[in-house]
Amino acid sequence: MKRTSRFAAAAAGVAALATVAACSSGGSSGTSSSSGTSAAALTGDCAQYQDYAGHSGKTVTMFGSILSPESDSLNSSWADFSKCTGITIQYTGSNTFESDLPVKVNGGNAPNLAIIPQPGLLAQMVATGAVKDPPAQTVKNEDNWNAAWKGYGSVDGKFYAAPMSANMKSLVWYSPKYFKDNGFTVPTTWADMMSLSDQMAGKMTGAAKPWCGGIGSGTASGWPATDWLEEVVLGKYGGQVYDDWISHKVKFSDPQIQDAMKVVSDWLQNPKWVNGGVGDVKTIATTTFQNAGLPILKNECGMLQQASFYEAQWPKGTKVGPDGDVFAFKLPAVDPSISTPVEGGGEFVTAFSDDPAVQAVQNYLSSPQWAESRIKVAPGWVSANEKVDQSLYTDPIDQLSAKYLADPKATFRFDASDAMPAAVGAGAEWTGMVDWFGSGKSAADVAKAIDAAWPS
């Protein structure tokens, strides 16, 4: 009797020990090591970081969806800042960032800073009460961005998160060589683009088609098609309808959105035009967006609508430029009366801590100084910051994107699905697009399913 009870207690003890150990390791990882040094004057090359001094020895944790090798460029971009101020920025990237962040925040394990790529997710995080107000200097720096960008970093009119990077979605990738060899010219209007597609379809044989596309993206499958629809809505009706669409004042079943879906299906569900190098229309649903553009290099596909960040998908050695293997042109507006519609995406630095060291990093990341430092590290990155020296961009795609993103006459709008509630923007709309392309579900039925999923 005595023996058994002692054994049971020991067994329970081992189990409890495991929990204690697990808790203690979980708790210690989130906190930053503390040491209070006064703001000594920084000298030499470090003098430019004087505003951020006085937090030597501190560690700031940062969490985002940016993965290596792009995250390596991030780490290099603030290496000097870290060295001079003594603040260690510990960046962690996750490819399931959108689902990880709420779990971390809800579990009391929030990172000091998070790089949030969606205004919708930012609004959610603000609603949990965990997001801290930005420091005065960051608020002042918001003037570096135009009103639209500031708006996307705000929730209910209150500014929370400074924009970090920007990407341009309204691009069409093509092969300048192939265009030149066949006498095709880059279209500047929607009508031109349609007749070019016809012209191309007439010349191409076998599996080659004028357009290619892929909307497969693991758990995010469907997102490239939401971009296609967004481009058409913005380019056909302009900013107001687009904004009303995001706020569900204009429903998916609305005749305007239905018309836009018709334009998309005439364009990218046209069996004569897609799916270049792969197969029929349905293969768009199963081709990954990463592989979608590769037939362009084999002249099996004429064009691909994809964002500026698609540059990273081309195989090593592919020459990107106006006279290279691939380049991009600005997707023309469906309705020529809409002034330069530009759809974009971006990231916003959100703070879950108001520690002075965290605020120093936050301030630094909202400064043109940091943006320029990041541009110099590696191409493939554009800042929406208007104060940034445009001449620093060396990459032709970056130059092209920066030109349109900073164009004051452009009708700039953020990716609509990223701004819609997640139940739609990351759920029903993605599923709807996959059904639309992959199962041939009608546009009306797709719209009905998406509208029904809108949270009440």
Partner: protein, 340 residues
């Protein structure tokens, strides 16, 4: 550049040291607490002895059960009765059974539930049948270990790994192009000029995904049922044979009744695993193209599309669906013990 790496390395090392120190502290603290508790418990006599022993023995277990099972269950049930959309949302209100009504009236979720039931019926039945068949057939074979190993090996592969392997098998390329998928290649060689795009063609895709689960589970069924078959006393089989039973008759009247309890345990175990199927569907096509199942939709509601309340309702439904199976299993085991 190198300076950054050095500082990074030192900070990582520092962190590891801190973590290790923390762990050591926790262990020492825990041992100290235990020592005190045992000391007090050892000193206690008379009236206090028994209740104290009960607390010390049962306390930690109850605490862990509460922490890992009871509290989350209550939280989930509570969440399922609100209109909570995302984790940590501050303003929520009670909406009663609205989320359950939604789950059973929403056409998409209805399909999910029907599909999950299909999984629940087909997979355990086929997996157990295959397992039993193999166990019977190879029982007295000369090199029984070879086919047994072949069938058992998949059991060791994770669901995600298995899904990835099979996604190559089911890969689809337009027939005019070089084939990369084994299944397409085989059927084209057999003369089918235009095979379907396997994984996006419902309802075919659901059955193809079930094959993966059966592939994994059949090995488990084979091993357990094989052992049960071996445990049937030879005298019983011999006397049955002398009475003229052989082949299927022997199987149906002697072997099956003798391993009935094992069959039930294997069947319910596979059923419970099947009810929780998530990884395969998630990896193959994330519930798209009409392949969604309850656990996958619950995960998406909870973590992807910010519908925590709806997800919680699905979790509760899943929990309630498993419960009768578990209870039946427990009852069966208890009965077996009584017989012994």
């Amino acid at each position: 550049m190198s300076a950054t790496y050095v500082s990074l390395a030192s900070s990582v090392a520092g962190q590891a040291a801190t973590t290790l120190l923390g762990a050591v502290e926790a262990v020492l603290g825990f041992v100290a607490i235990l020592a005190i508790v045992f000391f007090v418990a050892g000193r206690a006599t008379g009236r206090l002895e028994k209740p104290l022993a009960v607390i010390i023995c049962l306390g930690p277990a109850l605490f862990l059960v509460a922490l890992g099972l009871v509290i989350p269950a209550i939280t989930t049930i509570n969440n399922s009765l609100t209109n909570q959309q995302f984790l940590g949302q501050q303003k929520t209100k009670k909406v009663g059974l609205k989320n359950y009504v939604f789950a059973f009236t929403d056409p998409y979720t209805q399909q999910t539930i029907v599909r999950t039931v299909l999984w629940l019926v087909i997979v355990p039945a086929v997996a157990v049948a295959v397992g039993l068949l193999v166990a019977l057939l190879v029982d007295r074979m000369k090199y029984a270990s070879i086919p047994k190993t072949m069938v058992f090996l998949p059991t060791a592969i994770s669901f995600v790994g298995a899904a990835v392997i099979w996604s190559y098998v089911y890969n689809y390329v337009t027939p005019s192009q070089p084939q990369t998928g084994l299944l397409s290649q085989v059927v084209i060689k057999l003369g089918w000029s235009n095979p379907p795009n396997w994984l996006i063609t419902p309802p075919l895709n659901t059955f193809l995904e079930m094959v993966i689960m059966i592939w994994i589970q059949a090995g488990f069924a084979m091993v357990v049922l094989g052992a049960a078959l071996k445990a049937i006393p030879d005298e019983v089989i011999e006397s049955a044979r002398m009475d003229g039973a052989s082949g299927f008759r022997l199987f149906r009247t002697i072997q099956v009744p003798m391993i009935r309890n094992t069959l039930v345990v294997v069947l319910t175990t596979v059923m419970i695993t099947t009810l929780k199927v998530f990884d395969i569907v998630f990896t193959i096509n994330n519930g798209n193209f009409k392949t969604d199942v309850l656990a996958r939709q619950m995960y998406a509601d909870m973590f992807v599309t910010s519908q925590v309340a709806r997800g919680s309702a699905l979790a509760v439904i899943l929990f309630l669906a498993v419960l009768p199976l578990v209870l039946y299993n427990v009852r069966q085991l208890r009965r077996e013990r009584e017989i012994r």
